[in-house]
């Protein structure tokens, strides 16, 4: 049984002038101990997709369709009470700005103790002991549980966030740009820690990032999002070696590869579309270098390329048909 199976998840935001089609027909699956990267530029719908999983969405968001199953159990219709349970013990989340996510006027240790007492029903003393253990696991001196968030550096704060996320032994961790604001070396330290913990605890991980490079370092599989849709997904190596959607190709070319040649890649012209009224046909057609008449009129279907590797582009369908 799969740890997580998401089918055709569609979430819209309701605005005065209509619906923002933030994510449409997102299908994902995750095995135990596996990490999948959800990559996309700003406003591509990656965060909406991930937050839809645990319904941490603003009031004007509506999950229009789709099913979400954790170990076979459908949680789409879960009540608020059930969700509270799911949120810490099944799925936990690490946010980007730890300074905003931690309460600045409470000791960091107390914030974890509180979660443990509510969700794991531990006594004050046991929760304190567990918190100290969690600090050791994220490689922070356990004496520091009594400090306040401002006494920690950026990297250390992000470690506290990780300690908090793993406090109730979740099966799945969602990292929403967990290393974006950190220095390169600290970023590598935090990603290394996340990968170690994931392996030890066999957690599934969904890493949301705009940075393709982070995916190469941490994720077994990658799903590339553009304008609210997954345009390509597959094993990380496959997607890097044989990117099949023109958008993925452009992203990978834009990535400076110090092992390759030194040249400035052409940028993708234009800007991502407005999701209040996304363009007809393929959503990427206005910016695509390989656009044809078909792309303007008809939305492409997802094409299987090799086991586990799929992309959504008319060009691929044609190739498959010719074969």
């Amino acid at each position: 049984m799969r740890l997580l199976e998401v089918d055709n998840l569609t979430t819209y935001y309701k605005l005065k002038d209509g619906y923002v089609r933030a994510c449409e027909n997102i299908s994902l699956h995750l095995e135990r101990g596996e990490a999948i990267g959800l990559v996309g530029e700003s406003a591509s719908g990656k965060t909406t997709a991930a937050l839809s999983l645990i319904k941490l969405l603003p009031d004007n968001a509506h999950v229009m369709a789709g099913s979400i199953k954790i170990e076979g159990r459908d949680i789409a219709g879960a009540t608020e009470e059930e969700l509270r349970h799911i949120r810490w013990k099944d799925i936990a989340i690490i946010f980007q700005g730890a300074m905003n996510a931690l309460n600045p006027v409470r000791r960091v240790g107390d914030q974890i103790v509180e979660a443990l007492r509510i969700h794991e029903k531990l006594s004050e003393k046991d929760a304190g002991r567990r918190t100290a253990e969690l600090f050791e696991q994220v490689e922070i001196d356990s004496d520091r549980v009594r400090e306040y968030p401002h006494e920690f550096s950026g990297g250390m704060r992000q470690r506290v966030m990780i300690a908090m996320a793993i406090a109730c032994n979740p099966k799945i961790i969602i990292g929403d740009e967990p290393t974006t604001a950190l220095d390169v070396m600290v970023q590598a330290q935090v990603l290394q820690l996340l990968e170690t913990l994931r392996r030890e605890r066999e957690m599934g991980m969904i890493l949301i990032t705009h940075d393709l490079s982070v995916v190469g370092e941490t994720c077994d599989r990658v799903a590339v999002m553009y304008a609210g849709q997954i345009v390509e997904d597959g094993p990380t190596e496959k997607v890097f070696e044989a990117p099949s959607h023109p958008y993925t190709r452009a992203l990978i070319t834009a990535f400076p590869n110090i092992e390759g040649e030194r040249y400035l890649a052409a940028s993708i012209p234009g800007d991502p579309p407005n999701l209040l009224s996304p363009p007809g046909g393929c959503r990427f057609h206005e910016r695509c270098s390989e656009v044809s008449e078909l792309c303007r009129n008809e939305a492409p279907e997802i094409t299987d390329l090799s086991p586990g590797h799929r992309a959504m582009c008319h060009l691929l369908q044609r190739k498959v048909k010719v074969k």
Binding site: E41, S42, S153, G154, G155, D183, V184, M185, V186, Q187, A188, Q189, L191, Q192, E195, T196, R199, H210, D211, L212, S213, V214, G216, E217, T218, D220, P235, T236, E237, F240, A250, L251, I252, A254, F255, P256, N257, I258, E259, R262, L264, A265, A266, S267, I268, D271
Partner: protein, 334 residues
Amino acid sequence: MKNEHTENNPLISVRGLEVYFAARSGFFSSLVSRKTSMVRAVDGLDFELGRGEILCLAGESGSGKTTTGKAILRLLEPTGGEVFFKGEDMNTFNRSRLRRFRQEAQIIFQDPFESLNPRQTVFSTVAEPLEVNHLTRDRSEKEERVAEALVDAGLNNPRELFMRYPHELSGGQRQRLAIAGALVLKPDFIVADEPVSMLDLSIRAGILKLMVDLRDDKGISYLFITHDLSLAWLISDRIAVMYLGKIVELGSADDVIKTPLHPYTKALVSVIPVPKRVSLIGKTLLEGETPDPVNIPSGCRFHPRCPEAQPRCSLEEPVYREVNLKHFGACHFI
């Protein structure tokens, strides 16, 4: 990329540049102690920037790279050292020379959302520097110059954009507008402080290409400040790696990235991601974070984190010297 920078006639040369700040202390400690501690943000830099060169200052936060850029532009008063601009010592600049310098040198900031005034139209954003410096005689000349700067920054149909506000532009267009604001004064020198780090990958390449084209067409020199070494390698002619206010290594972009000398550069290069599946498990990383520049470690300032540190490193500060041809480093063991 160009490499023939007129070596004997650099645009900028920096000699022993220092910028210290008085560290803020609490009210109580200011009563009990008279000692003010100093943050040595930039602590003795020597480098030159050739004409038409792109020199990257690379380093983590707290390394002093932005402070260096601001000190060269005299947006901050240096504590010590000299900066020569076109051969003139900037310490001797009087008000009118400094005013002229501010037309010759410009800065582009990281965040085009914050660096632009949301209540100013595209036209007035770009026209303002012209007005301040009384550079145009009439409205039509001003419009001409603004349109020209916008086109130079890659914003076509400039006159259609004149009356737009920043919020009506996309992220890439906004950064181009910020660049147009810098270009309108026809500078020779631009400090670009993380100009693309807020931009999405697909838009980044266009801005970088624009900056390189401006160098090629107009001979603009750049001091390009970034924390991203792979980006530094991509865009610059030479890279200077900074750590806690000092340059630890400087050389051609290829030399620094492909054959780094200093253990700090080596560590940074080892974590540059490549488009492959490479797990971080088992990789040796530098421990800890850059220390506070109030308490700079003795000897080599990198020694507490250096994987190759020897007893000597904590006692003696290494000399910054030319290790290989045009490839400089500051480490006892290179």
